[in-house]
């Protein structure tokens, strides 16, 4: 892991050192500090590679095998490993003691655990990251949805405004009707008032004529009664008696 970091960093460092002017690049070994040339580039951070570095047998990076391949072929690194191990054992540079047994047991347990639970742990780590991303996406999607509903509402309001003219027409009609009704009411009042006054005049005239008529009748009666002489009065009384007798006989006849 660390060897890969060094290998990756080396070309960048060398390139940086070669960018210096010739007098300085001659004494490159003395330059220990990187010169700050160019802009500070902190963002965007370069993305993580999709897969980790290739390892064989879970421990040894693939680059080691590629490094030995041109000289020793496919079995080279394995021969190296076996030879090294046998050399250490036979020369007793590595002594087999109780710690070897402990190492063997621990190694077995570790390998078993990794083989059995490795995928689950990786899935757990991926799930943690997925949840983090999902939370942020959720915020973004919620914001987008809220804005979309706001747009819909706005469009609806704009459509409602188109019906504004109908509303105003109805209101106008309403007001016109009110005015008309008011005007007619007042017309009626005026008519009634005028009629009352005219009726008064008519009644006055009628009354006057009635009074005149009554007065005239009274005067006529009075003058007639005054003009009756006493002997006419006798004959009238006799006529009335005759009429009463006649009426009685008429009633019997009916």
């Amino acid at each position: 892991m660390l060897s890969r970091l060094v290998l990756r960093a080396a070309p960048a460092v060398l390139k940086g050192l070669q960018g210096l002017p010739p007098p300085v690049s001659a004494g490159i070994l003395h330059v220990a500090r990187p010169l700050h040339t160019g802009q500070h580039r902190l963002a965007p951070v370069p993305p993580l590679p999709e897969k980790g570095g290739e390892v064989r047998h879970g421990l040894i990076p693939e680059e080691f095998f590629q490094f030995l391949y041109p000289k020793t072929g496919v079995t080279g690194p394995y021969m190296l490993g076996t030879g090294l191990l046998l050399y250490l054992l036979s020369k007793e540079i590595y002594v087999i003691n109780h710690e070897t047994v402990a190492a063997a047991c621990i190694l077995t347990v570790i390998i078993y655990a990794v083989k059995k639970y490795g995928a689950d742990v990786a899935a757990f780590a991926d799930k943690l990251n997925e949840e983090k991303i999902a939370k942020a996406l959720e915020v973004k999607n919620e914001a987008i949805k809220a804005l979309e509903t706001a747009i819909e509402e706005e469009k609806k309001e704009q459509w409602r405004i188109e019906g504004r003219s109908y509303l105003f027409d109805a209101k106008r009609n309403n007001i016109a009707m009110l005015l008309e009704a008011n005007y007619r009411e007042r017309l009626l009042t005026v008519y009634n008032e005028v009629k009352k006054r005219l009726d008064y005049q008519v009644a006055l005239q009628n009354l006057k004529r009635q009074k005149e008529q009554d007065h005239m009748v009274q005067w006529v009666e009075k003058s007639v009664i005054q003009s009756i002489t006493p002997q006419q009065k006798e004959s009238i009384a006799k006529c009335i008696l005759d009429l009463k007798a006649l009426s009685k006989s008429a009633q019997v006849a009916v």
Binding site: L42, V45, L48, G52, V95, N97, H98, E99, T100, V101, A102, A103, C105, I106, V121, A122, F124, A125, D126, L128, N129, K132, I133
Partner: protein, 178 residues
């Protein structure tokens, strides 16, 4: 080279150079600092999740003033975890088997908590010397006992860690030889 049971507990020394400092600092290589990213690789994610879990457990019961201890306590627990777990592997040296190191951890931390408590709330911290609900005749004796237990505490803490780890390692060795 024949190993006796106690060779693993001697402070390592290579060509006359004491290796205690690398053995304390190298476990930190297994905890890469997460760097400037929002989404990290799997190892960093799991380590961050674990650290977060520990800190939450430690800090949830405390009020805001207690959160000042978060960095110290979390880093302490991560260091002890990594050092002790790595010591289980063969041919490794566990610094925490040395009484000197454990006393160096226990004494300053204990003293710090004691002095902070005495400084900020003197009567409350002195009041801890008497448990609640003790019957009156027992009070003098109990105060003496509590004071003794308070003063013994750093020794107890240091020796506890040393003894536990030493016993564990010895047990592994005994089982693998027998």
């Amino acid at each position: 080279m024949n190993l006796s049971f106690f060779d693993q507990f001697s402070s390592p020394c290579l060509l006359g150079i004491p290796l205690i400092l690398p053995s304390l600092l190298l476990p930190a290589l297994l905890l890469p600092s997460p760097g400037n990213r929002w989404i990290n690789n799997r190892l960093s994610t799991i380590q961050l999740w674990f650290t977060h879990l520990i800190t939450k457990q430690l800090m949830t019961p405390l009020n805001k003033a207690g959160h000042k201890w978060a960095l110290l306590l979390t880093s302490l627990i991560l260091m002890l975890l990594s050092i002790n777990l790595l010591g289980l592997l063969p041919y490794t040296f566990t610094p925490t088997t040395q009484l000197s190191m454990n006393m160096a951890l226990a004494l300053p931390l204990w003293l710090a908590t004691l002095l902070t408590g005495l400084r900020n709330q003197p009567s409350a911290s002195l009041g801890h010397l008497l448990p609640e609900g003790t019957p009156t005749p027992l009070i003098p004796a109990l105060i003496m006992i509590e004071t003794t237990s308070l003063l013994i505490r750093p020794l107890a803490l240091g020796v506890r860690l040393t003894a536990n780890l030493t016993a564990g390692h010895l047990l592994i060795q005994l089982i693998s030889t027998a």
